[in-house]
Amino acid sequence: MNGESLIQKVVITNPQGFHMRPMAAFAQLAARFDSSVKVSREGQSVNGKSILDLMLLAAAQGTELTLEVAGPDAPSALDALVKLLKSPAEEESSDPSI
């Protein structure tokens, strides 16, 4: 993989944690970039473009996740993904199951 490999830590601020909907948004966004996206927590590392993989990383509010992005569009990918993770719980849903 050419290009840079960038690493950044992000703390989950969404009160409902890194749950289904943000995961879906994350995987979708990650898939738009050519760079590889790895997400890890406490040594467990998964493919950030796979929602099934991300589900295994289920993270509550306050958890620290590490993003590792490598490839030609790494800077913009990292920027966009971090922004997504830090964005406040979008359209605050009263139903936590969604």
Binding site: G17, R21, A24, N47, D53
Partner: protein, 602 residues
């Protein structure tokens, strides 16, 4: 190989492919494929994934339009999972490397994800497991399409694994094809246990979560002696169990030899051995096992899985089927509708195909119960209470029972009587129905014996008053124990309170027997207690001379009866009545029974 421990409820050993029941009720037809088929299986996978994703996309749009994007998002996540390259890669790996059939590979991969999600600490995403099952079903539906095998026409024997089985589910199973049950939920006297006993197949309940560990088609062993479920056994274990299975069968055939011998104590006292049945087709195995009649014919199956209440002709047809097998001279005790919350209300998810289950059943619907579920169903509108509120339903069944009485030794029995007034109401309605039949010139037995179940503590306490107004009692121990000890027999956390040996239960039984003796009434005991050899001496000793048990239990009970004397049993009962706790009673009875029949609990 994985071993799960649960509660053994019906003995025997079964080895075979798993059929994992879910609300969709389909099974994975085959596990392995020849190498020549690998490419076509992979093509089928891609096609099915594509179709499934198209469906969830359509759902997403429909739901978004209807409820808003935040609700559509759940299907967006489903679409993402279905199009996730990791998913298709993993499934393909199983197809290529393990030669798994595509449906089996899908199931294994999805369950692996589900398992991983479940095990995440704090159960944080455990609810999302339902999403994975949903996706699994969607893919399988696309793969198997119309070739889905229905439970009612299974092509090969299976072992049924489920979270829990509802009566309507079990009613739709083909007993010839189901070799064992294992469920996550349930206790010793749950419906699954009862049905397993009736069908005479090994069964283990209360195993706790295991459904995510198994895929349809996996080989499993159900050990109904020790309460074990073994998933994917190794060669050695499998061989050992083949052996156990064979020796159990020869033990069974030894018991079968008792078939034509009377249930008579060593000092010559006869005990009537009757069978409990639920389906008309069980009357033949009932006779085969040596029953002298049917002591409890449960009629609930007539009401299950129907769009409307059963007609008089449907009732009559079922009753006559039983009478034809039992002959005109063997007693057949027909219990009127005994449906309540535990046995009736299907789970919310409904049941596809088969015309079974659905989302509610007519008798409850017609009294408005479906609309507002009861907060305390076990103390609510069930059984005879339900019938008394729905006289058309009640009278239809009574007419059929009366008409059947012209053809054999039919008796009618009312369940869950809790007051004298209720019994009188039932009898009054019966008298009305008799009048109607007489006017119409339809034949019936005017002397039809009327009995009542004693299964509510109030009825046991007032047994003497009730005894004056009926011709027989039948003690329904399952409910009597549950209501006396206020412990739900299906609730694993309190099921240890539920014991037939509890001194309170013994006192109620003693009281009922004494009241009946005073009025020269026959007392039968039905329910699980009568089919457990541990309590045979006790019941004999308390004065019971009639036992109604699931057909497969008859030989074992008969063997205990033939090994003891009334004197021994009375002494054992007297001593048991002096003991203070259920545990002491059970230990004592075990010891006494072993003394007369050392191999009894093997």
């Amino acid at each position: 190989m994985e071993i799960k421990r649960g509660i053994a409820v019906s003995p025997g050993v079964a080895i075979g492919p798993a059929l994992v029941l879910d609300s969709e009720w389909f099974r994975i037809p085959q596990r392995g494929i020849p190498s020549s088929q690998i490419d076509s299986e992979c093509e089928r996978l891609q096609h099915a994934l594509g179709q499934a994703a198209a469906e969830t996309r359509a759902n997403q749009e429909a739901v978004t339009a209807k409820l808003g994007p935040q609700y559509g998002a759940i299907f967006a996540a489903h679409t993402l999972m279905l199009t996730d390259p990791a998913l298709s890669r993993e499934i393909e790996t199983l197809i290529r490397n393990e030669h798994h059939a595509v449906a089996y590979a899908v199931s294994r991969v999805m369950r692996r994800y589900a398992k991983a999600l479940e095990s995440i600490e704090g159960g944080y995403l455990a609810d999302r497991v339902a999403d994975l099952f949903d996706i699994e079903k969607r893919i399988l539906r696309n793969l198997l399409g119309q070739r889905r095998e229905q439970l009612c026409d299974l092509s090969e024997p299976v072992i049924v694994l489920a979270h829990d089985l509802t009566p309507s589910e079990t009613a739709a199973l083909d007993p010839q094809r189901v070799h064992a049950f294992a469920t996550e939920a349930g206790g010793r006297a749950s419906h699954t246990a009862i049905v397993a006993g009736i069908l005479d197949i090994p069964s283990v309940v209360g195993l706790g979560g295991f459904i995510t560990d198994v895929s349809g088609g996996d080989v499993v062993i159900v050990d109904g002696h020790h309460g074990l479920l073994i998933i994917d056994p190794d060669e050695e274990t499998r061989e050992r169990y083949e052996h156990v299975r064979a020796s159990f069968r020869s033990h069974e055939s030894q018991l079968q030899e008792l078939r034509h011998l009377p249930a008579e104590t060593r000092d010559g006292v006869r005990v009537a051995m009757l069978g409990n049945i639920e389906f008309p087709q069980e009357s033949a195995p009932c006779l085969e096992r040596g029953a002298e009649g049917v002591g409890l014919y449960r009629t609930e199956f007539l009401y299950l899985g129907k769009q409307s209440d059963p007609t008089e002709e449907e009732h009559l047809e079922a009753y006559l089927t039983v009478l034809r097998t039992m002959g005109a001279n063997r007693p057949v005790v027909i219990r009127t509708l005994d449906l309540g919350a535990d046995k009736f209300l299907p789970r919310g998810n409904g049941v596809a195909g088969n015309g079974v289950g659905g989302t509610g059943v007519s008798p409850l619907g017609s009294v408005g119960l479906r609309a507002s579920p009861e907060r305390n169903p076990f103390l609510g509108l069930r059984s005879v209470r339900l019938c008394l509120r729905n006289l058309t339903l009640f009278k239809t069944q009574m007419r059929a029972i009366l008409r059947a009485s012209a053809f054999g030794d039919v008796r009618i029995m009312f369940p869950m009587i809790s007051t004298l007034l209720e019994l009188r109401q039932c009898k009054m309605i019966l008298a009305e129905v008799k009048e109607d039949l007489e006017e119409e010139g339809i034949a019936f037995n005017p002397q039809l014996p009327v009995g009542t179940m004693i299964e509510v503590p109030s009825a046991a306490i007032l047994a003497e008053q009730l005894a004056r107004e009926v011709s027989f009692f039948s003690i329904g121990t399952n409910d009597l124990i549950q209501y006396t000890l206020a412990a739900d027999r299906n609730n694993e956390t309190v099921s240890t309170l539920y014991s037939p040996g509890d001194p309170s239960v013994l006192r109620l039984i003693e009281r009922v027997v004494q009241a009946a003796a005073k009025h020269n009434l026959a007392v039968n005991v039905c329910g699980e207690m009568s089919g457990d050899p541990l309590y045979t001496m006790l019941l004999l000793g308390l004065g019971i001379r009639q036992l109604s048990v699931t057909p497969h239990g008859i030989p074992a009970i008969k063997r205990v009866i033939r090994s003891t004397t009334v004197e021994e049993s009375v002494a054992a009962a007297q001593e048991a009545m002096r003991l203070e706790t259920a545990r002491d009673v059970n230990n004592y009875l075990r010891e006494q029974t072993r003394r007369i029949l050392p191999e009894v609990f093997e």
